[in-house]
């Protein structure tokens, strides 16, 4: 499975002001396409923190998504962070100046000069279209890894992911969808469930994975594989081994 890394940027994600919902949303979207989100790194609005996070994301993944820090204010440093990670400068793009100016004109407003900082892109990058806000996104390859920088505002991030990122990812990587079956267990602790599956787990066919999620009074055992048949057979076997405490097997 293709490995995707996420970098989210913004003091507000780390000081308790905002709960990060982008990671779960993107993780879900990527899983549906057959890609795996393997790491998510949140950093403050700080240039070296952003570029360090991008470099460590690039080292761990086939593609990198960055979210946040693309606006017009002094604490929006993602453009510079991407440029630093790629070891290039930023330069103003005439076509983006026009685009931003036109967006303001639509609302009968003069463009504030500060807004034009959003027309700066790392040299070698191309812009991703923002249909729901003024800040363009960024696409560029760093060390042959495609990187997509999206706004942090959730609805802008989502729109740009769907319209700009997904088509490019699909062209590049043919995702392999994982099939997952969930065995739901009541009234048995995680330890006891895992003990009844220990021998079975140690002899699993390659490509089949098992994960546990415990909540109050319930344990979910998730059996995943690229083969739906293998995942389903695994879930039936696991349910037999766990016994009477299993109350349902669902496809995820």
């Amino acid at each position: 499975m293709n490995r995707i890394a996420l970098v989210t940027v913004g003091d507000e994600l780390l000081n308790g002001a905002v709960v990060d919902t982008s990671t779960a949303w993107l993780g879900d979207q990527l899983a549906l396409e057959g890609y795996a989100l393997v790491i998510s790194i949140s950093v403050q609005d700080e240039l070296s923190a952003i570029s360090d996070a991008i470099l460590s994301a690039i080292a761990r993944a086939d593609a990198v998504i960055v979210s946040g820090g693309l606006g017009p204010t002094s604490d929006d440093l993602t453009r510079l962070g991407v440029a630093r990670a790629a070891r290039v400068e930023v330069a103003q793009r005439k076509e983006l100046v026009e685009l931003i100016t036109a967006r303001y004109a639509l609302r009968n407003m003069q463009v504030p000069s500060q807004a034009l900082v959003m027309a700066d892109l790392p040299i070698g990058a191309s812009a991703l279209i923002n249909n729901s806000g003024s800040a363009p996104g960024i696409f560029m390859e760093i060390e042959s890894v495609p990187l997509f920088a999206l706004p942090g505002v959730p609805h802008e991030m989502r729109d740009m992911f769907v319209s700009e990122v997904l088509p490019k990812l699909r062209k590049r990587f043919s995702g392999v969808r994982q099939h997952t079956f969930i065995v739901r267990v009541a009234l048995l602790g995680e330890s006891a469930v895992s003990e009844s599956l220990r021998d079975w787990e140690s002899n699993l066919p390659s490509g089949v994975s098992v994960a546990y999620l415990a909540s109050l009074g319930d344990v979910e055992v998730k059996i995943s594989s690229e083969s739906a048949r293998q995942a389903e057979e695994g879930s039936t076997l696991a349910a037999d081994l766990i016994g009477d405490s299993v109350y349902a097997i669902d496809e995820a």
Copy 2:
């Protein structure tokens, strides 16, 4: 300000199954104590991913908190990840075997042998007491940086943070509380607000920081400093520069 890094562990945080609320909760708690959460890294239940994340957290912070992966199942790999980052083995602790056995006895249950994996600790580590679950936490220093590994289940994580981590952090670091004043602006775009503050921002006294948070129709400008007076004076000045669109100044 003392810098804290967080590593959260679990496939469910990355595949869309669960929204991570630990980061925002911990960020808020740490800010109240005068510490700054500077980075949060979420990784899958994968040994090398966990130890890599711990090592990069250690390189960036004065203390590291890890959350998740401490349970009894095969995908709970944090004990081994901490050990690998510290370049030590794990060993079973007799006192933890007794503690876990006693917890099961309280519920008139025999301890499943699989549960005893929770008595394994990296050599050189000490256990953190879990008052609301069976998995002990882990405290150890790696390259002189204190590391605290807590359960991922939110209420267990919170309890252990308050009862075990906070007292140790307070003993070690005297946090310096940041004071923040928020200037609330309506009907003006982020670019325009930031433009009216540009000259002022470029001459800020050291220790004063400015952050922007835009939402539908509103911009918040947050002025922070270790000195309450400096933060308040900054907010008054910023509000004057922005002008009529300011509708409130609040202390955060």
